[in-house]
Symmetry: C2
Subunit: 164 residues, 2 copies
Amino acid sequence: MPDDKKRDVILDTTGDAVQLAKTLIRSAQSASIATIEPGTGWPIATRVGVSTDVDGAPIILISRLAVHTGALLADPRCSLLVGYPGKGDPLAHPRVSIQCEAREVERDSDEHMRLDARYLAQQPKAQLYSGLGDFRYFRLEPKSASLNAGFGRAYALKREDIID
Amino acid sequence: MPDDKKRDVILDTTGDAVQLAKTLIRSAQSASIATIEPGTGWPIATRVGVSTDVDGAPIILISRLAVHTGALLADPRCSLLVGYPGKGDPLAHPRVSIQCEAREVERDSDEHMRLDARYLAQQPKAQLYSGLGDFRYFRLEPKSASLNAGFGRAYALKREDIID
């Protein structure tokens, strides 16, 4: 009964767990994103630069020349992994996987200007390419998230837990 | 013509590019893995501990209680992202996405003993859980890889480039 076993290892959500997940999301400057390759359905893991919108939803700045962008335009479903491994056992360090639907932000819209200002305030070096014609912001709308706070400490979070 | 544009940004594979990819793969202690959620087809991004087999193929040590394990048992297609972001712009740091098919290594087989010795030599702290009943090694059989050696420096690698 693997389903029963799996449920057993998910801890009850606490305020500390929610706070840890929010901190990981809001402090991340990069993340790994899982997308689906158009045509083949093969998963793709790539790195993206990340910031957050006012409510805590992840914002990514990606190039139309990159594989993840074509993948997201064909199928907006994705998963964003934030949290960096540090010294020692990499699995002892906390991380969050966020299941999201991606939405491209229209260039030169009010939303674009707001997100551009927020993104560049957190990542000033992205000014080198944020204005290039092939770059776009995507807002990642969280559906749910899975926090792993360290070995054996797993939490299943709802959208409401991580979005203000 | 997005396909033509995409081809234009892939550089010709060089010896330096191959060496960089191999170094990133062989020195990684953790990685992000993209898998496919059974039933929904949603991509999942999670962290895994990683080492390499003698020929350079990635080896991961994962728990049957983790979502990626159930996903890989249902559909072995995955993508492994290795390479750590450092200081400054996270996209300036090299990384490799490896498209792989995962194969579970039979417990207590000769292959298991070889991989266990290699893994624990690189990651001694994994001794805390490598022997637990729910942990298994999976060998990830590379099909192809994509090296991003830094902003705008993309290479398409073949299996033969990264496997000895």
